[in-house]
């Protein structure tokens, strides 16, 4: 296993990479929920974006065009959700579920139809991926104990999207708490009537929130397909969208706690590989499934109020209909 520092550095390194799509997705959900729209469809948007990104990156050999395609598809799905829920006051949970299922089916169907390789897309070339970015002097500092290791392994060498994800807290925090848009966004989620009487359009704000949600999910899905992997395969999101929702609830809809919740879930996942078959004094061999189940169980405990209270934005999930 090597010395503890190396172990620690490698674990955190893995955690950062695994948590990236989770962070992006949960922040996407944050924007939606803060505006009062429940979005179960994070999963579907990510999956759709993954497929679009993989396909376009393959065909155009460009990671950036893939990213654009992923974002476009994700935003499109978000707009369908907004149309059903905001304009037509449809049931938000049902709409999210519907989109998830549709995309889950559509991905393999289109993949097979276009590329003929079963339910996955062909692998893209290295040029079409997001390459690792090496920070200056990373090589030279690699041998410096502790600090050098952290710099060269942990901080340098990730691809662009990981850095974006890590920057989400200041980015989203800035957006939500320091801009006019953010103020109105939060207001719409707490008291849409107050916003309406101030002369601001409630549905306008919600549509805009869903666009942001779509963009972030698009980046997350793109990452999965062409940064973390090199192809799209069916169900590749594997419940990550729901986990992102759980992290959001765990983080009480605030940027920093949500990031930490994502880290926690990702850490647990990274731990899973390491702890397989390892004998822990006092506990014995921890079944890998117990670790796998941890994020889900933690979320249930949180919702049950055993790990603090989770108070969503007051107007979350309630379609806004002007009273008579």
């Amino acid at each position: 296993m090597g010395d503890p520092v190396t172990f620690f550095v490698l674990m955190i390194d893995a955690m950062l990479r695994v948590s990236t799509p989770l962070i992006l997705a949960s922040f996407a959900g944050m924007f939606a929920e803060r505006s009062g729209v429940v979005d179960i469809g994070l999963e579907g948007k990510m999956l759709g974006a993954a497929f679009a990104a993989a396909s376009v990156a393959l065909v155009t050999d460009s990671a950036w065009l893939g990213l654009l395609a992923g974002i476009a598809v994700s935003v499109g799905l978000a707009m369908i959700h907004a149309f059903a829920c905001v304009t037509h006051n449809g049931n938000q949970v049902v709409s999210g579920m519907a989109l998830n299922i549709m995309v889950a089916g559509l991905g393999p169907v289109l993949a097979y139809s276009w590329f003929n390789q079963g339910s996955q897309t062909p692998m893209i070339s290295e040029e079409a991926r997001f390459r690792p970015i090496h920070l200056p002097y990373a090589d030279r500092l690699a041998d410096v104990p502790v600090v050098g290791q952290i710099y060269s392994e942990l901080m340098s060498g990730h691809n662009l999207i990981v850095y974006i994800a890590m920057g989400m807290v200041p980015l989203a925090g800035w957006f939500i708490y320091r801009t006019r848009f953010g103020l109105r966004l939060r207001a719409v989620g707490e008291n849409p009537e107050a916003v309406d009487t101030a002369g601001i359009s409630v549905s306008g704000m919600r549509y805009r929130a869903m666009i942001v949600c779509g963009i972030l999910c698009g980046i997350a899905g793109t990452y999965l397909a062409i940064a973390m992997n090199t192809f799209f395969v069916r169900d590749m999101t594997a419940g990550m969208g729901y986990l992102a929702l759980a992290a959001l609830i765990f983080g009480k809809w605030k940027p920093l706690p949500t990031l930490l919740a994502c880290f926690l879930f990702a850490f647990v996942q990274a731990l899973e590989a390491r702890l397989q078959g390892v004998d822990i004094p006092g506990i014995g061999i921890v079944p890998v499934q117990a670790i796998q189940a941890l994020p889900y169980v933690l979320t249930v405990l949180l919702l049950a109020g055993f790990v603090g209270k989770a108070i969503p934005p007051k107007a979350s999930g309630i379609p806004y209909a002007k009273e008579k």
Binding site: A84, I101, G105, A293
Partner: protein
């Protein structure tokens, strides 16, 4: 002002048959366009699908076998809907139900068949019911949003089952995480065997006695929801909780009962799959049936008759879809999943877009008819 009590609303058949039919038509229309975009002929696709679903005895058998699962999960979702709860946890509840049935089969498979089967059915319902009870209790007593908890429980169930299968039940020397085969006493009788005994050749399919069980559940469902005091209370709390409290009903009790029954119904999928089809415990036998249940319940408007037909439709889609994927290789099986999603979208989320307008067409006419006394 309404007349002297003359009903000014759309006739029942509009709401319960026409609107679902139109929703389905829209979903199929979009699917048809998709098929066209994939370079195939939608009408040819439909005919292959129809033939694949009903064209020969084996097909019918498999169609009804799938239908059985969808009846169970559709009823499960519908029961929860009657209390205005969204049970997304059908997958997990079905999984646990299979576990329960499998445990009884493994432990008591050597007992006489009727006893084992009845015990196994009860175990499936019990295990599924427990898996529904926990989120229901959390919602009723702690206010935990049932949508999130049931989704979480789906994952927990899958992980739990993987652990159990890999660590405990796996048949030694096997690669796949499956248990040993059950004794024949724990087999749900297959339809083709029963029919063969009466001289009918029905081909070889997975269709088994669980289908009859599903039909019995439909009947029982109807009586429970509309002809018992517990069903009355569940419906009242679902429609108007304030009126429920006024009427001396405990909302928390209604929620918990609804979720237990809901989970139990989903658990019966385990009977069809484990005892009826596979005859051993294995992983991933729920393969999306829980989610289809949502589509079935929405299309069937939470009524057993509608659910039966919606389940039949999806059964046909699944079975016909298999054949279709075979004959038209460019359309994968997953096309059915797309149709499923579209049905949920149109029947559920976009309901408010169409239903009021369609119903308005009928009420406007009624208003001009002379008011009855």
């Amino acid at each position: 002002m309404k007349g002297l009590g003359a009903p000014v609303e759309a006739p029942k058949w509009v709401t319960h048959a026409l609107v679902p039919a139109i929703n389905l038509a829209l979903a199929l229309l979009v699917s048809g366009l998709l098929i066209l975009a994939l370079g195939e002929d939608p009408f040819a696709a439909i005919s292959i699908l129809a033939h694949g679903a009903f064209g020969y005895p084996e097909a019918i058998g498999y169609t009804l076998y799938y239908t059985t699962n969808f009846i169970f999960t559709g009823l499960a979702v519908a029961m929860a809907f009657h209390c205005y709860l969204f049970n997304i946890g059908g997958e997990g509840q079905a999984y646990l139900g299979g576990l329960g049935a499998g445990l009884v089969a493994l432990a008591f498979g050597h007992w006489p068949a009727p006893i084992v089967l009845i015990l196994a059915i009860l175990a499936a319902a019990l295990f599924g019911g427990i898996w529904g009870f926990i989120p229901g209790w959390l919602q009723a007593k702690r206010g935990s949003h049932i949508v999130i908890t049931t989704i979480m429980f789906n994952f927990i169930a899958a992980i739990l089952m993987t652990y159990l299968m890999v660590e405990i039940f796996i048949e030694p020397g096997q690669q796949a995480a499956e248990s040993r085969d059950f004794e024949s006493g724990a087999f749900m009788p297959r339809a083709h065997d029963i029919l063969a005994a009466v001289g009918i050749d029905a081909g070889h399919s997975n269709l088994n006695l669980s289908f009859i069980l599903a039909l019995m559940c439909c009947v029982g469902f109807w009586f429970f929801v509309w002809r018992t005091r517990w069903g009355y209370e569940i419906r009242t709390v679902g429609q108007n909780e304030t009126a429920g409290v006024y009427g001396g009903i405990l909302p928390s009790r209604a929620i918990i009962v609804a979720m237990c029954i809901s989970g139990g119904l989903a658990g019966l999928v385990g009977v069809n799959e484990i005892l009826g089809a596979h005859h051993r415990l294995l992983l991933e036998f729920t393969s999306g049936y829980g989610f289809v249940g949502i589509a079935v319940a929405l299309m069937g408007r939470n009524h057993p008759i509608g659910i039966f037909f919606a389940a039949l439709l999806f059964g046909a889609l699944y079975q016909g879809g298999n054949d279709l994927a075979f004959d038209m290789p460019s359309i994968k099986r997953e096309m059915v999943v797309v149709i499923q999603g579209l049905v949920i979208l149109f029947s559920g989320a976009l309901e408010n877009m169409f239903r009021p307008r369609i119903e308005a067409l009928f009420t406007r006419r009624a208003r001009f008819a002379p008011a009855a006394e």
